[in-house]
Symmetry: C2
Subunit: 258 residues, 2 copies
């Protein structure tokens, strides 16, 4: 069944959504059936792939509440092998509800059960997390086999890694003993002293867990979501597209699907 | 008493903390007694001004729980007229607790009562909000006289403004009838097509509510927090310092303190 990866970092704006969409597209291009789970009420991964949630009957909020099976909310995208389970602000209300209603005895594992029901249909499942360490992110950590943490090459982003490690420890101790941050990805890298220092610091601390490929700052990555496409389809020769293709290759260790 | 401004936008990484620290420093430099309230469990505003919360007895989590008066947790910074009420990850636990414990009948207005107790000592109080629309941000909205929303000149940041407006509407209807988004600030502006489009879009929609001055993308702004200083003290002639001085002037309409 699928390899489930939670893309998370409570620091805001570090490239979580950009990584889910474009790494997902890179895996799909290599032939892997890839599902993106938009688990952020902002719904950026959904809108970034041209999914208009106002036209949909079901989103992940219905799945979290348990009113509908996850299978029914999965949408194809314009890119082959790439699927998405979309979200919108309703997900925030659903999270508030399952977190406070005694009917849901284990609100932390609702997503895990939903993902298990579709896992056989995919090779990779990437979960886009919101910039918090609340119930939604805990759900993603309970469902995931590993975490990929994007780290912007800036001071505040490095600080946030400590807090992330302590939450992962708690989830590991309570509901998912195998969980760890398996991957760190340097994002928005520039040729500045700060950028180089942060990159060196991260590689020194986490060694091989840091992808060899870093994502350069590339305005095309910021433009692609405004036309609802991944970078691979929007500007295939851009530095951003090249980087995410290499990262998809590194993640899948060069192998192609079954 | 003080003008209380919540600096908020649930989109992550748009420059909320950078604006609180540097606009705060700009107001302090103009002679206004300025208090920064770090209301984000990441504690970036605190660490960005060299406040080591592990050495402190009190932070905003104690104030939220009601165990200590806010006055006791306010720290001076190295910059004249600039003070900070610091936070760390304990604030997330405190928010979880007051949100679920029946002892706190109105958890939404805990911060408003705390800020009222110190408001007479300051001219401006800026609240740094986390990248979510949960209880902490609702508290900031209940306490504030207005909201300043930083908007990164990128696609996703513009999308988030709609969600922000709908939460503000709810807070206005329930606990703070005068609340509105009084200011929009364009951040990380570059000479790209995307940047220009987002700026034009925002000015068309919100007109005079958008600061005339936009903050340019300037790596010195990202470097300053790693030495615990505002941009004004770190690199006084940088484009970032010039921009935040102008914004402080615009905000205070050119007048100096009482
Ligand atoms: N390598 C890059 N180069 C340039 N811009 C980028 C890059 N990666 C992401 N961006 C842009 O930076 C902004 C933040 O990225 P993104 O929204 O993916 O971060 P996030 O971590 O998902 O944010 P949030 O915490 O709000 O969920 C977006 O406008 C995005 O388009
Ligand atoms: N104008 C700018 N030019 C260059 N870098 C900037 C600028 N403004 C902010 N930054 C950097 O961009 C990153 C995001 O900014 P910041 O942390 O202030 O955003 P935020 O909205 O407070 O994030 P969060 O949602 O995590 O609270 C930080 O590393 C900061 O140093
Ligand atoms: Mg995101
Ligand atoms: Mg911040």
């Amino acid at each position: 069944s699928a390899i489930v990866i939670a893309v998370a970092n409570q620091k805001g704006g570090v490239g979580k959504t950009t990584t889910v969409v474009n790494l997902g597209a890179g895996l799909a291009e290599r032939g892997f059936r890839t599902l993106l789970v938009d688990f952020d009420p902002q719904g950026n991964a959904s809108s970034g792939l041209n999914v208009d949630t106002s036209q949909l009957e079901l989103t992940m909020s219905n799945v979290l509440l348990g009113t509908d099976p996850m299978d029914n909310c999965i949408e194809p995208t314009a890119e082959k092998n790439l699927f998405i389970a979309p979200s919108d602000m309703d997900l925030a209300d659903a999270a508030m509800l399952v977190g406070s209603n005694q009917k849901y005895a284990f609100p932390q594992t609702l997503l895990r059960r939903a993902i298990e029901s579709v896992s056989a249909d995919f090779d990779y499942i990437l979960i886009d997390c919101p910039p918090t360490l609340g119930l939604l992110t805990v759900n993603a950590f309970a469902a995931a086999s590993t975490i990929l943490a994007p780290v912007q090459c800036e001071y505040y982003a490095l600080e946030g890694v400590r807090d992330l490690l302590s939450i992962v420890e708690q989830v590991r101790a309570n509901i998912n003993p195998a969980l760890e941050i398996g991957y760190f990805l340097l994002t928005m890298q520039q040729a500045t002293k700060l950028s180089k220092e942060v990159a060196a610091d991260l590689r020194k601390t986490f060694g091989k867990k840091v992808f060899v490929t870093a994502v350069p700052r590339n305005v095309r990555l910021a433009e692609a979501p405004s036309v609802g496409k991944s970078i691979l389809k929007f500007d295939t020769n851009s530095p951003g597209a090249k980087a995410y293709r290499k990262i998809a290759k590194e993640l899948s260790h060069g192998c192609t699907p079954r």
